[in-house]
Symmetry: C2
DNA sequence: ATTGGCGATGTCGATCTTGATCATCAGCGA
DNA sequence: TCGCTGATGATCAAGATCGACATCGCCAAT
């Protein structure tokens, strides 16, 4: 599923053109990104929680060189599935 | 940031009542949930990718008993931050 | 204001992450 | 609708992090 599919789903329940639906989806993602970049946690009950987290681990590995690669970065976004998402069984 | 904030952001760029904005946000999350539950991967460039993944690890831990707890479930949702989300520096 | 999902705790193993590169597909212009 | 741009995926390796259970409190949602 890609952005277009989401827009189509939105159109089914919200009377608007595909372009508008795309705009809405894009906007939402933009807002979420912005909020996350600002360090804000996004909590939506029944769906999940997006949380910016500081990362402590500081070492990776380079395939070619095989040398230990320092990981200077220290942040990442974690998405924690909500109750509804945990209902996933062995499909 | 919670659902209401997202709805407000939507209202700013999309002329509609708060109730409608809430409905849109709720709908989107519903669609995403449904897609994920159906095992579909949601890929949005510049934002991130939601991917249902089978979980192989089969052991947890009970605080009280401290005994190894079998994890019967075998799925979880992983959110992979896109390029824009990786721009997060040590805020 | 009420309901109830969600957070944190604690342990121990599996999972995930970073880094670079080529191929493929998402996003979007014409 | 067709095609281009370029972001994403997989991989090797080592080390750090997540996960789940069970419970109380807090805050999101109604």
């Amino acid at each position: 599923m890609i952005k277009i599919d989401i827009a189509n789903s939105l159109m089914k329940v919200h009377p608007c053109s595909r372009a508008t639906a795309l705009q809405v989806v894009d906007l939402l993602t933009e807002r979420l990104k912005d909020a996350l970049l600002n360090g804000h946690r996004i909590e939506i009950r029944g769906f999940g929680v997006f949380e910016p987290r500081p990362r402590k681990r500081g070492m990776g590995r380079n395939i070619k060189t095989g040398a230990s690669v320092q990981i200077p970065k220290g942040k990442s976004i974690r998405f924690k599935p909500g109750k509804d998402l945990r209902e996933i069984e062995v499909a």
